[in-house]
Amino acid sequence: MSLAGTPHVEEHRDDFGARLGMWLFLLTEMLLFSGLFLGYSYMRARYPFEFHHAGSEMNAVLGVTNTLVLLTSSLTMVLAIVAIQRGEKRRAMLGVGGTILLGAVFLVNKAFEWTAEIHHGNYPGSAHLATLPPGEQVFFGLYYTMTGLHGLHVLVGISVLSVMLEMVRRGRINADRFVTLENGGLYWHLVDVVWIFLLPLFYLAA
């Protein structure tokens, strides 16, 4: 520890510690979703036929498209971090900006998808859903909860990355200190990974 003798607060820098903290936070995020995945597995084991049937009504094309969008956004994120490490500020900004844009595209697609489902009467509390067997009602309940919570995380990710974009522009994140951007990237990848699991569970379940 090289902290001895350094003045209080002003210059305490520990990039490893910052990353460690971020990984712990990601762990909590994973566990947050794990509660829902647990609920999903239990319900699916209980209602295999209903889940199969309800899953076949999902728009798989839209789901897969969104997967490609998110995967690409993770790529631009990685490129941004490589760029900032090399001191290429413009490229880094382009990468972060691209990630934000792709995240927004994902949310727009999601909005279309939800609108279509709601239009079909597949939403909690609807008259149509009440006529379906219980297992399918739970399927849609979980669908809105899990994709909704994930969408919220995409939104948070976009906000966080927007702040970081500004920090790169002002030179607060630079070739010498980029752990903040790395942590932002880690968060974004987690959001991506969660989606990778949501895709087969809801869209390819049939």
Partner: protein, 543 residues
């Protein structure tokens, strides 16, 4: 008056003095100094503690058929819910780790602050935010929640009271707890003074480490469970609603997956504090350092796998019943290891009897009763008999109040001189103990007996056969509250009028006693280099 004691040391300049541009309360609520954040937690948690004590006091009076015109059965339901929510989420969980963890952790490991000071202050704001939401939920919407602190479905979905907002408050409080956990783990990994290997850390730090892991691993499960309750109430997603294919038992599983480990969030740091206090007053090194350190980890690990023992009567499979019964018994082993090591530490020690030691010994005594009644409930047949009776209430008050509460008092007495640089009246601390101890046992041991006789918990009224028991318990609660008033009045007076305590009033050997009392803002003039274990007295072993 001061001139009559010219030899007394003055209170040195410290973190208590405002040095920045801001003064007064503003300087406190914007400070990222871990010591100030710790004290913010102390004052806020104590506020909620006293409100919850007052509610508990009132509930005891209601059991004597008093105030029945004021407290209707519906209000009684609200009272035990609020009492539980305030005590659990606003005092016991944010008690020892955020108060003494924040204040002492950096001092104990020879650091200047925690790893993320701003995040630390943010945790306190999450705490206050959550607390405000909980308080608002009591006075708005359909009135205070009446579900009990467990928010069990399906009732919590059907009741017209303000459950949604209260649950959102608990959700917010979870963030505070989780972020503190992340902060402490990182601090312990990264900020130890040079030379302080893992096995040279004070044992309070070990217990904080285990606690923090539970906070990080378990709290998200509570968060998502509470989110599901909110969604269920607002839009009716159906996951807990049998009419829509959901399952209420799933709620119980998810809830206790957090809330049982949460019990260890409450008790582990208490055990850690006791482990700091005993060697200081036995004037010898701790017996079985490694056993105590690793038993903390074992409790955290096994304790995460016993949640379904809250659900023995809920309808789970025979195999699950046996498994969870066995695991529940297993978790008693590391707890017992600690108790044996504590007693062995005292054996042949040069006991210096002081108030913190008295309260620490009381902790061990009361915790043993709480722990053993817990093992009793782990046995399936007994559990079915005592489920949802006063036996359960008595048991968890022995653990939570007799355990965590008394450890909190002991820690307060032990570290108060360090925190404020002033000494309280030791005589008053002894005097307070008498009604505390008598009242506590009158109140809660009676509950154990009542429970075995069949008195159900959470009932507004009781059969005449339980009259005597309830009378004894209520009189006990009067003693208990009297003891609490003396205890805290003593500390409040000492905060302003206490004589300067000096750097090391107890002769403790851990790092916090090497700096001034109260500590300066930067904790240590120079970061110490560690060359031996934490508990070294005289020529004894322990290096």
């Amino acid at each position: 008056m001061d001139s009559m004691r010219p030899t007394q040391p003055e209170i040195p300049e410290s973190f208590l003095d405002d040095t920045g541009p801001r003064k007064g309360i503003l300087a406190w609520i914007t400070s990222t100094d871990h010591k100030r954040v710790g004290i913010l937690y102390l004052y806020s948690a104590m506020t909620f503690f006293w409100i919850a004590v007052a509610i508990g006091f009132l509930m005891r009076l209601v059991q004597l058929q008093m105030f029945h015109h004021l407290v209707t059965p519906q209000w009684y339901n609200a009272l035990f819910t609020i009492h539980g929510v305030l005590m659990i989420f606003l005092f016991v969980i944010p008690g020892l780790p955020p108060v003494f963890g924040n204040f002492m952790l950096p001092l104990l490991i020879g650091a200047r602050d925690v790893a993320f000071p701003r995040l630390n202050l943010a945790s306190w704001y999450f705490f206050i935010g959550g607390a405000v939401i909980v308080v608002v939920s009591l006075f708005t919407g359909g009135g205070p929640p009446d579900t009990g602190w467990t928010f069990y479905v399906p009732f919590s979905l059907k009741t017209g009271t303000n459950v949604t907002l209260a649950v959102f408050g608990a959700f917010t409080l979870g963030f505070s707890s989780m972020l503190t956990g992340i902060n402490f783990i990182t601090t312990i990994h990264r900020m130890r003074a040079p030379g302080m290997g893992w096995l040279r850390m004070p044992l309070f730090v070990w217990s904080l480490y285990a606690t923090s892991w539970i906070q990080v691993l378990a709290t998200p499960i509570l968060a998502i469970t509470l989110v599901l309750v909110m969604l269920e109430r607002i839009v009716g997603i159906g996951i807990f609603d049998p009419a829509k294919g959901g399952d209420p038992i799933l709620y119980q599983h998810l809830f206790w997956t957090y809330s049982h480990p949460a019990v260890y969030i409450m008790i582990l740091p208490a055990m850690g504090a006791i482990t700091e206090i005993l060697p200081t007053f036995a004037k010898r090194t701790i017996f079985g350092y490694k056993a105590i350190a690793f038993s903390s980890i074992a409790i955290a690990g096994v304790g995460s796998l016993v949640w379904a023992h809250h659900m023995f009567t809920s309808g789970i499979s025979q195999f699950a019943l046996m498994l969870f019964s066995l695991l529940t018994m297993v978790v008693a082993v590391p707890s017992a290891i600690k108790v044996f090591n504590w007693t062995a530490t005292l054996y042949k020690g040069a006991i210096d009897f002081q108030p913190p030691l008295l309260y620490a010994l009381t902790f061990i005594f009361l915790f043993c009763i709480g722990g053993l009644t817990g093992v009793m409930q782990g046995a399936l047949a007994v559990n079915v008999h005592v489920h949802d009776t006063y036996f359960i209430v008595g048991h968890f008050h022995y653990v939570m109040f007799g355990g965590t509460g008394f450890a909190f008092f002991a820690a307060l007495l032990y570290w108060f001189p360090k925190m404020y640089g002033r000494m309280y009246s030791k005589k008053a601390a002894y005097v307070a103990w008498v009604p505390l101890f008598i009242g506590f046992n009158m109140l809660y041991f009676t509950m154990l007996v009542l429970g075995l006789q069949g008195m159900p918990r959470r009932y507004y009224n009781h059969l005449p056969m339980f009259d005597t028991g309830h009378e004894i318990a209520t009189v006990g609660s009067w003693f208990l509250v009297a003891g609490l008033i003396i205890f805290f009045a003593n500390l409040v007076v000492a905060r302003f009028r206490g004589a300067p305590a000096g750097n090391s009033p107890w002769g403790g050997s851990t790092l916090e006693w090497t700096t001034t009392s109260p500590p300066p803002t930067e904790n240590f003039a120079e970061i110490p280099t560690i060359t031996h274990g934490p508990y070294v007295y005289g020529t004894e072993e322990g290096a």
